[in-house]
């Protein structure tokens, strides 16, 4: 400061501040600012990071390399089928004449050429290619059939066997070696990739005319052939694999041959397809018309179903292919539309109890005709070639378009193959061959598959399903978050139903009616609950409460009614006691409530077995699980009792209550109290009777709460089959978690209501109860609301209790006696096993973000309301 400056005291300051103080001051400022902002930023990166991890889920496939070259086969020839090995070094192509050529996948140079048909053999007229596996079926012009195996064989060469000319090869380099291609792996091994071809003529599988279409399926035990002859005959042959005991060679023996009737005068079908294990046979015409034959346990083959695979417009079917698993057919038509179809259980079909559904319809992004289809041998990715030379890559379950690849040569793509590791694609056209390297990304997860209903293969309708892992082949991940979100909501609802009333009522009592000295002890005790580690509660819930509740279910249920009844009854008795006594004992009221509650629990214990034997056929658990046992009356009565009690209470307070208030003004206290008690007892009996009457009416009408009323696939009935670890137990124990939070915050809110309001009310002659209900609670309403919201937020995210006590089955049920799986428990169980950066891993991060968003929204709402309340309370 300027020393010349005059101060108002007339004295000037002589001392200056040492520079060190300035330095430390600014240092402290920067450290605190940087540290503070850094901490805040670090804390808020949580959500940001989750988004970063989730982001790739919604991206498409990434095509890293595309190379096109002149076809290894003579120009103008359209290959029937192409293939590529898992390392993408060797490819093959089947040419119309029956020649198979292998070529170097990186340059397109031909390596070998060989004919599948022997000299003097008939020519190939039909080919059936499976979605996975090496066996192809060739239909010949003489009506016979060949089973050709085109199998890549990987072998490793010992260093000493490597020929001189390859010894110079460095790691990662490739070179042609004989009939195959050798590559040096990162470990320094020589890996040789070859195509092995074998052709077999299965005995007993033939037609008497040239075969124009063929289909087949191969299982561990048998091969099923379907052949369409030029003469219009459709024949299905099942051949079993038999091993020759002496030579160990496997041969096919026909065990069943069946000719299927085709309707006359429609021309020949273009495709014949056999589904997995030979259950269904499809014959499909180019017009889109399709017939399905069921081959299982049928003595006489009949048309089981007739379908139209081009339901819209007059498009013609141009391509048909099976997905892996040979259950789902994908069809492409001349307008560029691709659809997926599969059989499902459908009792409406009287012929065989199956129906074929169009489960998916793809937005391909192209309008020109579909010329070829190929499915991945490991996942539900398929590729689709169009007449304009482009190729699309799609994922079946989620209907996601992964990539759309264009080539310069606008020739129709006639054959496609997806590499076995889902990381490459070969597309062949008249002009040449294109090879693409791609990373499919995360095709299973889309908004649709995460949040909307999807019709999965093997299910009888669209549904929400979470099933992230399973053992069998061709399995698809089911990643719907809806069952988990529903589980979270279920946990929240049931724990709030139990915890919120208790906590709010307790807060009102302790803030407004409790002796401050007692309150000073009671409040920390309840807050102590908040510090209980939730793992403790989870353990107690699952290992202590769950068996007890299961053991004494009727009594537990009765306790929900008898305890409030006992407390109310106690209050009416208290009213009837002499005023001298109650006034003196006012502070000890809590101590009187304690035995009353014990009395209520005792009543529940006694009533439980009675109710069980009267209403629940003597065994509640059995009664719950089987709607055929007993009548639904008891459940209706219990479910309706709260409602009927409410109705009776309203009616009574409107009629007798108001009469008593006016007429009873002059009555002595004792008389009034007795009448009041009589009114209460009458009301209680009335409520029970009303519930029973409505219940018996409903059960007479045939309604049963045990049969779930589904709404959009969610079973809404609050009761049903009993499972030991269930929502009731969780709700009860989660109450422990949310009661202290709701209690503390609402107690604070109630206490923050300024005292002058209370004084004014009391001064105007209101009782303390009237003051509490009409003045304090309305003033503190927003505070109470925010307390509820914060309790809700806590319940939404709780992990350990639900993990341990909720059974963890992702079901779509509101049944209080069944378990559930919440978002949080799901993350805790599955994330440790999820492969880093896999779809599953990222989906679990999405679950975490969903949880984050849910609690963040709830908490922000609560916080804003609380701040408003605070301001209001200050203004008052």
């Amino acid at each position: 400061m300027n020393p010349e400056q005059e101060s108002f005291t007339g004295r000037t300051r002589k001392r200056t501040t040492r520079p060190v103080v300035h330095l430390i001051d600014s240092l402290a400022k920067s450290v605190i600012t940087i540290g503070g902002i850094g901490t805040i930023v670090a804390v808020s990166t949580v959500a940001l990071f989750l988004v970063v991890v989730i982001w790739p889920l919604f991206k498409g496939a990434e095509v890293s390399d595309a190379s096109c070259y002149k076809s290894p086969w003579p120009g103008g020839v359209e290959p029937v089928q192409v293939g590529i090995d898992e390392y993408q070094v060797l490819g093959w192509a089947l040419l119309p004449g029956g020649r198979v050529i292998t070529f170097d996948a990186s340059s397109g140079k031909v390596i070998t050429a060989r004919s599948l048909a022997e000299k003097g053999d008939a020519t190939i007229t039909a080919v059936s290619v499976p979605p996975a596996g090496p066996e192809m079926v060739l239909g010949m012009s003489d009506g016979s059939v060949r089973l050709a195996r085109l199998q890549f064989k990987t072998s490793f060469m010992e260093v000493e066997d490597v020929p001189e000319e390859l010894a110079e090869l460095k790691i990662g380099e490739k070179s042609r070696l004989g009939e195959g291609i050798a590559e040096v792996t990162p470990l320094g091994q020589f890996r040789v990739q070859k195509l092995e071809i074998s052709v077999e003529k299965p005995s007993g599988v033939s037609m008497d005319s040239a075969i124009v279409a063929a289909g087949h399926t191969v299982s561990d035990r048998d091969v099923v052939f379907a052949m369409l002859g030029k003469n219009g005959k459709l024949r299905v042959v099942r051949s079993e694999k038999r091993e020759n005991m002496l030579t160990g060679k496997e041969s096919l023996v026909p065990v069943k041959t069946m000719d299927l009737p085709l309707p006359p005068g429609e021309g020949l079908p273009r495709w014949v397809r056999v589904s997995e294990l030979g259950v269904h046979v499809f014959a499909v015409w180019e017009s889109g018309r399709a017939l399905r034959f069921n081959m299982r346990d049928v003595k006489e083959a009949r048309v089981a179903e007739e379908l139209d695979l081009t339901p819209e417009g007059d498009a013609r079917l141009t391509a048909l292919h099976f997905m892996i698993g040979e259950t789902t057919l994908i069809s492409g038509d001349s307008t560029g539309t691709v659809r997926a179809w599969f059989p499902f259980r459908n009792m409406d079909n009287v012929v065989d109890g199956w129906g074929t559904a169009m489960a998916h319809r793809f937005r391909t992004g192209r309008k020109s005709a579909v010329t070829s289809l190929a499915s991945s041998p490991r996942s539900r990715i398929f590729a689709c070639g169009f007449a304009d030379g482009s190729t699309g890559l799609y994922f079946m379950t989620s209907e996601k378009r992964l990539a759309l690849l264009d080539t310069e040569a606008r020739q129709p793509v006639v054959s496609l193959a997806v590499a076995p590791k889902d990381n490459g694609l070969v597309a062949a056209s008249k002009a040449g061959l294109c090879r693409y390297d791609f990373d499919p990304g995360h095709p299973e997860a889309t908004f649709r598959s995460l949040f909307l209903k999807i019709w999965y293969e093997g299910y009888d309708g669209a549904t929400w399903k979470w099933q992230s892992s399973s053992g069998f082949k061709g399995y698809e991940m089911k990643l719907s978050l809806i069952p988990l979100i529903l589980g979270t909501i279920k946990a929240t609802i049931y724990s709030l139903l139990l915890g919120a009333p208790l906590a709010l009522l307790a807060a009102i009592f302790s803030s407004e009616l409790l002796d401050p000295k007692v309150r000073a002890r009671v409040k920390p005790t309840i807050e102590l609950m908040a510090s209980l580690p939730s793992v403790v509660l989870g353990f107690v819930a699952a290992l202590v409460f769950a068996p007890i509740v299961q053991h004494a279910l009727p009594s537990t249920l009765m306790a929900f009614f008898t305890i409030p009844f006992a407390i109310l009854a106690g209050a009416y008795v208290w009213q009837a006691l002499p005023r001298k006594f109650t006034l003196r004992m006012d502070r000890l009221r809590l101590l009187f409530i304690l035995p009353v509650i014990a009395l209520g629990s005792g009543m529940a214990l006694l009533l439980g077995p009675v109710v069980e034997s009267v209403f629940f056929a003597g065994n509640t658990l059995e009664w719950l699980s089987d709607p055929a046992v007993g009548s639904p009356l008891g459940a209706w009565a219990l479910l309706l009792l709260p409602l009927s009690a409410l109705a009776v209470a309203i009616v009574i307070s409107r009629t007798i209550g108001s009469w008593m208030r006016s007429a009873g003004a002059g009555w002595p206290r004792g008389k009034y109290a007795l009448l009041d008690a009589a009114k209460f007892l009458g009301g209680a009996v009335g409520a029970v009777v009303l519930a029973l009457v409505i219940g018996s009416l409903l059960s007479a009408m045939g309604f049963d709460p045990r049969t779930p009323w589904a709404l959009g696939g969610v079973a809404l009935s609050p009761i049903g089959t009993y499972v030991q670890r269930n929502a009731l137990v969780v709700g009860f124990v989660m109450g422990f978690l949310i009661i202290p939070i709701i209690y503390t915050i609402s107690e604070d809110a109630l206490s923050a209501v300024p005292d002058h309001l209370r004084s004014a009310s009391l001064g105007a002659g209101a009782t303390r109860w009237q003051t509490a209900v009409r003045i304090v609670v309305p003033t503190a309403m927003s505070g109470l609301f925010s307390a509820l919201m914060i309790g809700l937020g806590r319940a939404v995210g709780e992990t350990m209790v639900v993990l341990m006590a909720a059974g963890n089955t992702p079901v779509l049920e509101m049944n209080v006696f069944n378990g559930f799986r919440t978002l949080s428990a799901n993350i805790a169980t599955e994330l440790p096993e999820a492969v880093r950066d896999s779809t599953h891993y990222r989906t679990l991060f999405l679950a975490a973000l969903t949880l984050f968003a849910m609690t963040f929204v709830i908490n922000t709402a609560a916080e804003l309301v609380r701040l408003r309340f605070r301001k209001k309370a200050l203004e008052l």
């Binding site: 400061m1 430390i24 001051d25 600012t33 503070g36 902002i37 901490t39 805040i40 670090a42 804390v43 990166t45 949580v46 989750l50 991890v53 260093v159 470990l187 320094g188 208790l502 009522l505 009592f509 009616l513 401050p516 309840i526 102590l528 510090s531 209980l532 580690p533 793992v535 403790v536 989870g538 353990f539 699952a542 407390i567 109310l568 005023r579 502070r587 409530i593 304690l594 009873g664 206290r669 009041d676 422990f736 009661i739 206490s751 009391l762 009782t767 109860w769 009237q770 995210g797 992990t799 949080s824 993350i827 805790a828 679990l844 975490a848 984050f852 609690t855 908490n859 916080e863 701040l867």
Partner: protein, 822 residues
């Protein structure tokens, strides 16, 4: 704020009015329907809710306290004889009533007549049936830990005087009667003969001859008898037995001479006096195994990793390494085989004399072995030469490093052999102490004293004896490692893990939390931004802990840890080319210098006016600093020269920090608890009256001086309260730990005597996770259940202590304020 429930006037009025009747005081205003206005039923309902809450919490605490503390109390051991002749002995753990099931009639038919009569009587009397769960132990004999015994099937039940409960290192508990206690002198002849390659028959004969010779010269201790320890084939295993000299069967292999004390009392007395010395040997052995062997292993591991480091730099051909590994293994096999053959030759020569036929055969065999294995080794050498021709040799630096590593390994192996010899000697000493027990169903079992953790004659214990066992179990529980899939033993590693993690978490969270609160309350300008940040932080306190766990796993473990382990490439980031990176570094430095000077020039002396130019300079400085921070961050992420600190481990597919562990668990919990600390600290700071700050400024103190001397001391108790609350929350949190580092059985403690003493990369055990694991993943759930209660009690005790500390601090804070208000 006081709410003294003074008797309200209206109350008094009403009472006198009602009680004395309206007639006595006619002047008073009549009150209408006073009773309804009191809302007594609703008051009772609210009170009832409060009572239910209190009963719930106290009931739960009481349950855990009761169950947790009775776990270790020793119970009497009951012997039960059933009607169908089964005999069993054990502790009754719990009982239950049950309903006769659907196949009850079938069961009745299958029962022995006496049991069926009892059962019918029980059912007819209308009561439910009753059964006890008995812990029978002896798992290796019965394959059961627990047995349900229905009351009706019991024929006889008593408490045998000499029933002894043995808690063992393996197989769980043993219930039986002591038969004999033995001090064994080993007889090695049989084993030596076996090593010489003799037939079983010869081994047995030689062992017996040796035993008889030694027995003749053995001086027995007073009161002891001479017996043999023999190994007998039983169920495919060699089971040791104690037999009298005359009872040795020809097929037994004598392995020792025993001085035995037979008879329950004598055996027990002998056991009692020798148990502690046997256990001392066992503890010594465990020390050797854990500490010394661990040290040697660490040396070998370190040598291997440093070689790997060189390997990553020099990149020797993978094929060469492959074949070299095979060659090395072949050489080791050769050396072992030849050594074994030589040892045999030595033994044979010793027994049969030089030049005997057996010795010549053994010598031939040595040659044979050596030839066979040499040929094998040669094959790999030739292959290596071929690989060298095809792919080239590794660099000299690599070969040198390899040689060095191999010599270190060889030296360490020598040490290792020494330790193993010491352990073997201890094993031999431990085997000298034996106890023979018999079970009620007629088996005998010879066990080593060192394998017995604790044994007591349950039915003879007086009250103080029981108290002794009780506390000795608590001692073991608190200070020992777990055994038997965590269902026995102690939780010491879990305690250490919990405490270490909580400490590191506090070290991380407290300074930063306080800094953030100081910034928000003292430095940041109050406005919309700050209040938004405040709301957001408040909200973060309510975000589910599992979300923080997910974040910790993805961000700390995989991203940060992956970066530290293996540099940018390991987290999927392609680093910048070195040139660009250095240019960017220079740019960052220039920006930083610019920002610094802009900041300096933008400073104004207090009291002078802030010109627009200076204001611009200040803003510019802030922007530059921000840019610099961003660039610095990018520089770190895209660093081309950083290949990670633990890339050797990473190359072994064994990430060090790039996986879950103590550090990341602590940091995750620190992040989780940061909002709690920030909110509490802010509230404490806000509670310091502004008048005190203003007074300080008026005295000429600077802002930092005011904060340091006036604000922080006043706020300190509040900050401490928040801190303790946060720590309590962190200590009890389990869900995030399941993702970032807690393990059911960690291989090593996170803190030990080896450098760097606190191992941040290790996984650890945690009390909360231990509860989850014991209660839900334990193979022997029934035996684990009591342990869960004790662990729960321990965890609650820790958390409650922390909370009580917080409450106490809060009280102190209030008192301090009461006196320090101006």
């Amino acid at each position: 704020m006081t709410q003294e429930p003074r008797p309200l006037r209206s109350d008094g009025d009403a009472s006198t009015g009602d009680g004395a009747g309206p007639g006595t005081r006619p002047k008073r205003r009549k009150r209408r329907a006073a009773l309804a206005a009191y809302g007594e039923p609703m008051v009772w309902l609210t009170g009832g809710a409060l009572i239910i809450c209190l009963v719930m919490i106290l009931g739960l605490l009481g349950l855990i306290l009761w169950q947790g503390s009775i776990t270790f109390w020793p119970h009497a051991v009951t012997r039960v004889v059933t009607h169908d002749g089964r005999q069993m002995m054990g502790e009754v753990t719990r009982d239950e009533k049950f309903e006769p099931g659907e196949d009850w009639d079938q069961k009745l038919d299958d029962m022995p007549a006496a049991a069926a009569t009892e059962a019918r009587k029980a059912v007819e009397s209308g009561s439910k049936l009753h059964r006890d769960l008995i812990r029978v132990g002896n798992f290796e004999l019965t394959n059961k830990h627990f047995v349900w015994i229905e009351e009706y099937s019991v024929k006889e039940q008593n408490l045998p005087q000499w029933a002894v409960v043995v808690e063992r290192l393996e197989w769980g508990r043993f219930y039986g009667m002591p038969e004999a206690c033995a001090y064994v002198h080993p007889v090695e002849a049989g084993r030596v003969a076996a090593r010489r390659g003799e037939s079983r028959e010869v081994c047995r004969r030689e062992a017996r001859a040796e035993a008889e010779r030694e027995a003749a010269g053995l001086k027995l201790s007073p009161g002891a008898a001479l017996e043999y320890v023999v190994e007998r084939r039983e169920g495919g295993e060699n089971v040791p037995h104690l037999v009298r000299p005359g009872e040795v069967k020809p097929e037994d292999l004598v392995v020792g001479l025993a001085e035995t004390w037979r008879g329950r009392e004598a055996a027990w007395k002998c056991f009692d006096s020798r148990h502690s010395s046997a256990r001392a040997l066992w503890h010594k052995r465990r020390g050797l195994e854990k500490v010394d062997v661990g040290k040697v292993n660490a040396i070998i591991e370190h040598a291997r990793l440093s070689l790997k480091e060189v390997e990553l730099d020099e990149k020797p051909p993978a094929a060469w390494l492959n074949v070299y590994g095979l060659l090395k293994r072949a050489r080791e096999t050769e050396a072992n085989a030849v050594a074994e053959a030589n040892e045999r030759l030595r033994l044979v020569t010793e027994r049969y004399g030089k030049g005997s036929e057996q010795a010549r055969a053994a010598a031939r065999q040595v040659e044979e072995t050596s030839r066979t294995f040499k040929a094998e080794t040669g094959k790999f050498s030739r292959k290596l030469a071929k690989v060298e021709r095809a792919f080239g040799r590794p660099s000299d630096r690599y070969l040198r490093a390899q040689k060095e590593t191999e010599s270190t390994e060889a030296r360490a192996r020598g040490d290792f052999r020494k330790i193993m010899a010491e352990i073997a000697a201890l094993d031999g000493q431990m085997e000298q102490y034996r106890l023979e027990m018999s079970t009620v169903d007629g088996h005998t079992k010879l066990m080593g004293l060192a394998d017995v953790v604790r044994a007591y004659p349950a039915n003879q214990l007086g009250f103080f004896g029981k108290v002794g066992v009780y506390f000795s179990r608590w001692y073991e529980f608190l200070l020992d490692a777990p055994r038997e899939a965590n269902s026995e033993g102690g939780v010491w590693p879990a305690i250490i893990g919990t405490v270490t993690m909580t400490l590191i978490m506090s070290i991380a969270v407290v300074p930063f939390g306080v800094l953030a609160a100081l910034y928000l309350r003292e430095y940041a300008k109050a406005g919309a931004v700050v209040s938004t940040v405040r709301i957001a932080i408040n909200n973060l306190a309510g975000v589910p802990s599992i979300v923080f766990g997910v974040f910790g796993l993805g961000f700390f473990c995989y991203l940060v840890g992956g970066y530290i382990d293996g540099g940018p490439r390991n987290i999927g980031v392609a680093p910048w080319p070195p040139l660009y990176w250095w240019l960017a570094l220079i740019a960052a430095v220039i920006i930083a210098v610019g920002a610094f000077f802009a900041g300096m020039m933008g400073r104004t002396r207090p009291g002078t006016e802030v010109t627009p130019a200076k204001k611009m300079l200040r803003t510019g400085s802030v922007v530059l600093w921000l840019v610099m921070t961003a660039v610095a961050l990018l520089l770190v992420v895209y660093a081309p020269h950083f290949h990670g600190l633990y890339r050797a481990e990473l190359a072994d597919n064994n990430p060090t920090l790039g996986t879950d562990g103590l550090l990341w668990a602590s940091l995750t919990l620190a992040l989780l608890t940061a909002p709690v600390v920030i909110v509490a600290t802010e509230e404490a700071l806000a509670a310091v009256p502004n008048s005190m700050r203003e007074g300080s400024y008026a005295c000429g103190a600077s802002k930092w001086q005011t904060i340091k001397r006036i604000v922080l001391p006043r706020a300190m108790p509040g900050i401490m309260t928040g801190m303790v609350l946060a720590i309590a929350r962190g200590a009890g949190e389990v869900a995030p730990l399941m993702l970032v580092g807690a393990e059911k059985l960690a291989p090593a403690l996170p803190v030990d005597g080896q450098f760097p003493f606190v191992h941040l990369d290790r996984t650890f055990m945690h009390l909360g996770f231990h509860i989850y694991d014991l209660g839900f993943q334990s193979p022997n759930a029934e035996a684990a259940k009591p342990m869960v209660f004790s662990t729960t009690l321990l965890l609650i005790a820790i958390v409650a202590t922390l909370n009580v500390a917080a409450v106490w601090l809060r009280k102190r804070l209030r008192r301090k304020f009461a006196s320090s208000q101006f």
